[in-house]
Symmetry: C2
DNA sequence: ATCGTTGCAAATGTTTTGCATGTCA
DNA sequence: TGACATGCAAAACATTTGCAACGAT
């Protein structure tokens, strides 16, 4: 357990939003924590492997990470503007995906479901004075 | 309408599987068509924008493209081994995603659903003599 | 002392861009 | 002709890796 590991865990714990490795690295610097970018990547990969964080690929090609609340398989509802995320349990979809896969002769089924939208806060308009 | 545009459309029409820009470019060379890599990327981006092809990001970070059969919004069941894809219509999921998003105060909802598995052909085992 | 972790810089791989040239309408 | 497409090489970008120094147990 190193200082860097703790630091990465700390920034991850700070937010509920999906964040890129680059941004997390920047945030660490802001906090005065000196952690190498390569180390951040290594940590995140490790955490994602063990399921301690969720990861998904943004439209722009970055991999985004978020500390994981639910332990098992689940989905996300993510705000396209602010990145705020809600974790979802979706038994119906699980069943549906499974049935449908089998009907087509597929096995070892997995699936990815991400719902995106604009959350109520963002829809309410940018905070007064913001230059967005 | 240029020779290159036709050529890209042609290779796309050849297969039902998700294919990377790099691979499509290679395939064009095999066909003796001389098309620049940058042009292939430009074409694919354009086609994806107009919805003429579907695109998704592979786990390895490449963007994969596939000519689109269904015109509207739909999902895919993709074989992780051979890339074979089945296009799916999923009204139940549409409704579910929409309801759930609204319940959480999100608007302008979109969603991505990809189901992956091993298709029957691949599950039947590798052809005899293969060294997998 | 040992072995995994770190961190820099360089490498990798995909995609984009600048810009001169070619080509369709 | 005149705007737009092309294509090369170089840039931009995220991510990974090689390897020497470091630090936790």
């Amino acid at each position: 357990m190193t200082r860097q590991k703790r630091a990465v865990a700390a920034v991850l714990a700070e937010t509920n939003e999906f964040t890129s490795a680059q941004e997390l690295h920047a945030r660490l610097r802001e906090h005065g924590e000196r952690v190498g970018l390569a180390t951040v990547y290594a940590q995140l990969r490790g955490l994602a492997d063990t399921g301690a964080v969720d990861s998904l690929r943004s439209e722009s090609g970055e991999t985004l990470y978020r500390r994981c609340g639910l332990s098992g398989h689940h989905h996300h509802l993510v705000c396209r503007q602010c990145g705020r995320a809600v974790e979802l349990d979706a038994p119906e979809v699980e069943a549906w995906a499974h049935t449908l896969g089998q009907r087509h002769g597929f096995r070892d089924l997995e699936h990815v479901l991400e719902i995106t939208g604009i959350c109520d806060r963002c829809a309410a308009g940018p905070p007064r004075g913001a230059t967005v």
